[in-house]
Subunit: 270 residues, 2 copies
């Protein structure tokens, strides 16, 4: 564990005992008090600024920011995301079984087609309402003895780490627009052919081996992606909008009423 991480934790504690808008001690003061160089302090603060906990004002100071409404979410932990939004997360396992991978899944998980995988379909709920339908695929050899109950009460990633010693290290996720089919509509409680996000995520462990492949259907009427666009100097010195950092998935809306097909949306601006 580097000093930077230690500093980060210390400052995080400090922030939590402070009011929004208050200035934290200056970088020089912190480096002195904590016995590290200013650069080390800065590196730690950089992270907290990037994550939205702090705001810097040149010539003035560094301030505790209100956790942004569109605070970056993990894209991976549904439960934590919902809790951060003040909603009560839930999970209902629809079915769980072992099947052979087949060609397509084998390719995604880099397994021979005859290898066994555990396939779990589950419904993700927020405040009791269906938000997403998730189909999880994991090599069966990785999770011996996995039951539906295991998934109801704890994070799958925590389970992987604590019980199976599997550590997630990286992943890739693609996002597409789609419309719900018959089965998805029923599960999510939306009209047939409603707009939805299709997330496909492949997760790797520390050695680059695929751990899981997940397909999730998120209700389009309750989910929005938000990105903040930051300025970026072009190669020619020009300024434009660049990196889309801090992609957030935010639940929106409240209506539970059934809708017609195709679902209404805010009319075009005229």
């Amino acid at each position: 564990m580097g000093k930077q991480d230690e500093i980060l934790a210390r400052v995080m504690d400090l922030i939590e005992s402070m009011e929004v808008g208050q200035a934290i001690p200056s970088e020089r003061r912190l480096s002195e008090q904590l016995g590290v160089s200013r650069l080390t302090v800065r590196a730690a603060l950089d992270e907290l600024v990037h994550e939205g906990y702090l705001t810097r004002r040149r010539g003035s100071g560094t301030y505790v920011s209100r956790p942004k409404i569109a605070q970056p979410l993990t894209l991976t932990s549904f439960s934590e995301d919902m809790r951060r939004r003040g909603m009560v997360p839930g999970s209902r396992t629809l079915d769980l079984g072992t099947v052979s991978a087949g060609a397509r899944l084998g390719r995604r998980l880099r397994l021979p087609p005859e290898e066994l995988i555990v396939r779990v379909r589950r419904l993700r709920l927020a405040d009791g309402e269906p938000m997403a339908l998730e189909v999880l695929h994991v090599p069966a050899s990785l999770v011996p003895g996995l039951t539906a109950a295991d998934l109801e009460n704890s994070s799958f990633y925590e389970l992987l780490q604590d019980r199976y010693g599997v550590v997630v290290a990286s992943g890739t996720q693609t996002i597409e627009p789609t419309v719900t089919n018959d089965e998805e509509s029923r599960a999510l409680g939306v009209p047939l052919h409603s707009p939805a996000f299709l997330f496909e995520r492949t997760t790797l462990n520390q050695w680059g081996r695929p751990i899981e492949f997940v397909r999730s259907f998120y209700r389009g009427d309750r989910y929005q992606l938000v990105t903040e666009l930051l300025p970026r100097r072009g190669r020619d010195g020009r300024v434009g909008l660049g990196d889309a950092r801090s992609l957030s998935v935010i639940p929106v809306g409240r209506s539970t009423a059934a809708r017609s097909t195709p679902p209404p949306r805010e009319e075009d601006m005229e």
Copy 2:
């Protein structure tokens, strides 16, 4: 312009003259050759690594990477994005007119409802094929004398900066899944009720004043969002997948054939 930016440009030039997989000079050598400290070199390389041009291997060296298939795109410059994909971008202005803002647009652009705005509908093409339908709204006072021809041949942001002295500084973009309506289907050449991304972007200048509000409909059969998920230590020291950095918009597929409604998609894994 800081030294870091100069170094960045120098290294960028260097990279372009090298083969993928070759190692660039070590950080120490670069700092010596370029007459700056190693930290400055590192800061510059950090950016290039973040943008995917370079890969670091500890104990070994820093290598030119193949521009990733899912190289981070700007989300804002359609033309540049398409060129990076090796496609020929195009733009066809469907109509351009001046209307009063009204309540909703006025709110988005922070203008009184009676204020005039320029509204432009244009089709974005790649290799001659429609990819997206874009509706652009700009306060009329910002862009006096704007014509359809202006938009055909140059980037709108370049135009803003060069002719009108308006500098984009930040922005927020939301992304939703939707289905195309009648008009959008015709414009994009896809069946009615095809899945599509709806991007809504509000762009601000350096003083936080809204410059533009853009609604774009991207064909769901040609576009995918890709995010890389990076590990992130939790506050409790646990490791999970965290920040979704480098959101990319990538065009996919090639088919131009009309499809049924609802459009087919890869069948569910079984």
